[in-house]
């Protein structure tokens, strides 16, 4: 992109040519009241690949993720400064429709949070809300979303049953299906596996690999092995700053910054 003044490790990014920039973040600052939670973050997120954000608890990675679909707006006394562009369009401009933005940038949360409704109604919620489909079309859309989330085979006979009857891993995939039903371009995942067992975690990771063919994925994770497994590029956050950003292979094997090295080798965090 033109005129980017970001401190990226611009070398050795695999596949740069094929993946256009989806989200550009420039000089992003975020404040909870007087506390500065993000300090001058600059970052490029490429489309149709997985970008991982790592760092110790409270380092600002979740805050950063939530800045990308303006979920921080609902926090009282919070303030965002800087630029976040989605396909070149500034998302913090006063004229931006947050509803439209969130349709394009969906979110999966740390704990599975299905609605207190049936499996079907969970997935149909957003399409109904936005008037995307009804009747047979809606049923098709729900099925397709559940298939994309690799959940259809497990739930096709219990669509009318409560979403709470599903296992934790299934609930999380249901939440992913719920997001996909809106037809987003970007899926933000905030530690999507931290409440899941290893087998469910593996399923979600496999799912992410399938999803990246169609969606841009940003995942925040505590689990460095996970970041190394799934992502092409990784950013390391510490105390609200993006310390280092680059190819995951580099970040995990040969980081440029001493702090990154200390973190990925398990010396703290």
């Amino acid at each position: 992109m033109i005129g980017m003044s970001v401190k990226l490790q611009s070398t050795n990014l695999p596949g740069r040519g094929e993946h256009l920039v989806k989200i550009e973040v420039e000089h992003l600052d975020f404040y909870y009241g007087r506390v500065r939670a993000l300090v001058d973050v600059n970052l490029l997120i490429r489309e149709r690949q997985i970008t991982a954000l790592i760092g110790p608890s409270g380092c600002g990675k979740s805050t950063f993720l939530r800045a990308l679909n303006r979920m921080n707006d609902i926090i009282e006394g919070a303030r965002t400064e800087g630029k976040v562009r989605l396909d070149g369009e500034e998302i913090y401009d006063p004229g931006v429709d947050v509803v439209a933005l969130r349709r394009r940038v969906g979110m999966v949360f740390q704990r599975p949070n299905p609605f207190p409704m049936s499996v079907f109604e969970n997935v149909a919620y957003a399409p109904r809300l936005h008037g995307l489909a009804r009747g047979a079309d809606l049923e098709d859309l729900v099925e397709e979303s559940l298939r994309r989330a690799a959940l259809w085979e497990e739930v096709k006979d219990k669509l009318r049953g409560s979403a709470f009857a599903l296992s934790g891993g299934q609930q999380q995939r249901l939440c992913i299906a719920r997001v996909l039903a809106v037809g987003p371009e970007v899926v933000l995942m905030d530690e999507p596996c931290s409440a899941l067992d290893p087998v469910s975690t593996l399923r979600i990771e496999e799912l992410m690999h399938e999803l990246k063919e169609k969606y841009t994925i940003v995942i925040v994770t505590h689990n460095m092995q996970q970041a190394a497994r799934v992502s092409v590029e990784t950013g390391f956050f510490l105390h609200g700053e993006l310390i280092e950003f680059g190819a995951s292979t580099t970040i995990f094997t040969d980081p440029a910054d001493k702090r990154t090295e200390d973190y990925v080798t398990g010396r703290f965090g």
């Binding site: 979920m71 439209a100 349709r103 969906g106 949070n113 207190p116 919620y125 809300l129 936005h130 709470f164």
Partner: protein, 290 residues
Amino acid sequence: MSAGAMRGSGLRHLRRKAANGAMWGLATLSIFACLLPLGLVLYYVIAQGAAGINLDFFTKLPKPVGEPGGGMANAIAGSLVLVGLASLVGLPIGILGGIYLAEFGKGRFAWTVRFLADVLSGVPSIVVGIFIWAMVVVPTHRLSGLAGGAALGVMMIPTVMRTTEELVRLVPMSLREASLSLGATHWRTVLKVVLVAAKGGVVTGVLLAVSRIAGEAAPLLLTAGGSSFWATRIDQPMPSLPVQIFTYAIQPYDDWHRQAWAAALVLVSLVFVLSVAARYATRGRFRMVR
């Protein structure tokens, strides 16, 4: 205590055991002290009221003094209409107010509203009756079902509002976030997700409020009045079970006393049915907590 495994026969040990036993006994006693009046009330109402219950009671109008028979069909219908009117007033205001307090209510104004709601729920019902009498009955020059419904509705508001608030507050933030992140507005989120999640509890609160006002006589004496006829218009005085019980109970006629007891039994049954319905409603299919 298993015998002698650990030797604990000292004085302190005995004292602890005695204190434990004594407190346990007191607690048990309190339960019976609490259940006894409840049991007696139920026993008395059933024992005295059952004699007056027959088909006529539910289908016939009251007879003049001295004439045997007759029923309280008009009072039963009147009570239902009054409760319905009260719900029309109390439920929308109470539920929407509760949502406001839980979702948007911050700062001094919300604090004041909460405080006033608590005060209002503590106001004696006769005072609410006088208030509506002054506001509605005096200007319109007549006791009416409308005034009665308004009085009962005002009494419902604080209970419904605070219950709704508490239950809406209990809905986890993560559900709101999920809905918002799917592009729903705050209001849609409240309507489609938060209220659905809180539904069972809100219904319980509403039914408890309804049960409470269904038995009120004092405010109705000043607002709806009473009548021995079918109340077909809500701008006319309207009979109700509590007022009918009061009217009949203070008269010196055995026949009327019997009918008053029967009315009390019907009222208690009505409240009982509502409570059971409340339990049933909370037993929802999509429970948040398993």
